[in-house]
């Protein structure tokens, strides 16, 4: 059989045509597969965010929307103490919760990843399990625990440790912090666990073999490798803490409001949608800046 026994150019174009056809088929499938999720998120996420952005430059006059473009809402946010205080409280709470959560979560994640042996899977499931209970119910339980006539005060009184109940437990920033630590702790343990789990025992053994004490081996090997997981936990904990509504509203008592409560107040009590939109935009700008700053740590982790 010789090589040139047919119209070579004809078959070459046939191949090119077939390749183009199957490339088109692949393209159609790609677009078809992505379309539902992309269309949905565009319509019900991106568009609402755009609407918020536009609203934030409008104002409310006598319960009517005034569509004159103005920066009045933003000026008000940065001059009126109630908004500034809301942002400040949210920031303080989120920062505190992030740090405490990290300190609390690291040993637990380390224990599960390195010391729990065959209990590992069970413990991991147990960390996640509270997530399956609505946050509303769990926050509600903290009211039973922290109140002036709550379980903790009564327990302390019954055992004679205190004479009068602690009144600062419920309806205070303390309560918000406790509730948020409780809510986000599992969220922190998981990425930490994932990165500590990747630290091979042989690496730690090698460090010790090279005369590092266990403590030194931990700081030289385990901790640097767990750091990305710590960052992921911290960033998400902080972001969620900034915008959280349910826990502060249930446990905070309403004397000092976090920013999420301020947004709802603008919307519900003052009917000031543009005001709420503007606060939302400031909050979002803050979160985006934070993500941009920490992206180099969290990107590889999230990509997994």
């Amino acid at each position: 059989m010789t090589i040139a026994d047919g119209p070579m150019d004809g078959s070459a174009t046939a191949a090119a045509g077939a390749a183009a056809a199957s490339a088109r088929r692949a393209r159609r499938q790609t677009i078809g597969g992505l379309l539902p999720i992309v269309a949905w998120q565009t319509l019900f996420f991106a568009v609402p965010m755009g609407i918020l952005f536009v609203y934030s430059f409008w104002t409310m006059k006598d319960y009517r929307l005034d569509t004159t473009v103005t920066l009045a809402n933003y000026v008000r946010i940065f001059t009126n103490p109630i908004y500034l205080k809301g942002f400040l409280l949210s920031l303080q709470v989120a920062l505190f919760v992030t740090v405490v959560c990290g300190v609390l979560a690291f040993p637990v994640a380390y224990f599960i990843a390195k010391k729990a042996g065959r209990w590992r899977v069970l413990l991991l499931i147990m960390v996640i399990l509270p997530f399956w209970v609505s946050l509303i119910m769990r926050a509600f339980a903290w009211r039973l625990l922290l109140g002036e006539r709550g379980v903790i005060n009564q327990g302390l009184e019954l055992t004679g440790l205190i004479d009068a109940p602690f009144s600062f437990l419920l309806y205070s920033p303390t309560a918000i912090v406790i509730g948020l630590i409780y809510a986000y702790l599992p969220l922190y343990v998981l990425p930490l666990y994932a990165s500590i789990d990747k630290v091979r025992d042989s690496w730690i053994a090698a460090a010790q073999d090279l005369n590092a004490t266990p403590m030194r081996a931990f700081w030289e090997v385990t901790f640097p490798l767990a750091f990305p997981g710590l960052m992921v936990g911290a960033v998400f904990c902080f972001i969620f803490g900034l915008g959280e509504y349910v826990v502060p509203a249930l446990l905070g008592g309403g004397k000092s409001l976090v920013i999420a409560q301020v947004i709802r107040m603008e919307f519900e009590l003052r009917q000031n949608w543009p005001g709420g939109a503007a606060i939302s935009m400031v909050l979002m700008a803050f979160i985006i800046a934070l993500l941009a700053l920490t992206l180099r740590w969290i990107r590889p982790e999230v990509a997994r």
Binding site: P36, I37, F44, V47, Y110, A141, G150, F236, I239, S280
Partner: protein, 273 residues
């Protein structure tokens, strides 16, 4: 092993024990509130508190006689079911394409899909209600389903995507090679092998939608989901009936999630081969 190693080992074991004790405390912290809800559901005082007075099951009876609570429960189950199925259905094709195809605009798509995770729910709620001003007819049940689908579809896509990444391409190619069309490959190979991930995603999306309060509140109109009912009842006098219904839900969701976890682990093990 030299003599000098012995104290070190002993020290190591003590440290491990201290670590275990600490982990125990953290777990106690995690489960304390759940235990409190369940305990007080059986206490016959009308205002929950220590010391516990006596055992009763009357709050369960009252809870299930309370039309508002039961109505909220039914509404929540119905709406959460819809949004869980919807979220999984729109997430699956997208996840398949992202995991298996060369997508040029992958970063853009990923950002769009992932963004709702980092946006505070109160912001999403406010944005959605301003959107629904353009279609007031949807406010109520359809709007709640839409809102919860939007919230859950993002991590549904992410979970499915990461599972499908580990999926051996050769399974699909082998099936096609043996004569299975795209549809048959999906039914015969992809669906059964992705079943654990799909179940996990469905459950997660359901639970999340079931318990979500603030976004639903924005778009609910006159619809009352269970969280909205409970929230309302917490403003007024706290009835232990809320405890009772919460206890039931906790029991059901914990049992369900444990069962699902066990099933998923079994499936994954069988599928590892």
């Amino acid at each position: 092993m030299t003599a000098a190693d012995v104290p070190m080992r002993r020290h190591g074991r003590a440290a491990t024990r201290a670590l275990a004790f600490y982990a125990g405390l953290v777990f106690a912290f995690l489960y304390l509130p759940i235990a409190v809800i369940v305990l007080f559901a059986f206490d016959d005082k009308t205002v929950p508190g220590l010391p516990m007075a006596g055992f009763t099951t009357q709050w369960f009876a009252r809870a299930f006689a309370d039309g508002e609570l039961v109505g909220g429960l039914a509404t929540s189950v119905r709406l959460a079911l819809c949004s869980a199925v919807l979220a999984t259905a729109i997430a699956m094709p997208g996840a398949m394409v992202l995991a298996w195809r060369d997508v040029k605009v992958r970063t853009v798509v990923m950002c769009l899909v992932l963004a709702p995770i980092v946006v505070p729910q109160i912001v999403i709620g406010l944005g959605l209600i301003l959107l629904f001003r353009a279609a007031p007819g949807l406010i109520g049940e359809p709007a709640i389903i839409i809102a919860h689908t939007t919230l859950t579809a993002c991590y549904a896509t992410m979970i499915l995507y990461s599972r499908l990444l580990g999926f051996k391409r050769s399974y699909i190619e082998a099936a096609m090679d043996l004569g299975a069309s795209d549809v048959r490959v999906f039914v015969e190979i992809i669906l059964p092998l992705a079943a654990p991930a799909l179940v996990a995603v469905l459950l997660l999306a359901f639970t999340d939608a079931f318990g979500e309060y603030i976004v639903a509140w924005f778009v609910a109109g006159f619809t009352k989901t269970l969280p909205i009912v409970i929230w309302g009842s917490m403003r007024g006098v706290l009835s232990p009936a809320v405890n009772a219904i919460s206890a039931v839900i906790i029991a059901v969701s914990l049992a369900l999630s444990v069962a699902a976890q066990i099933w998923i682990i079994r499936q994954t093990r069988a599928g590892r081969a």
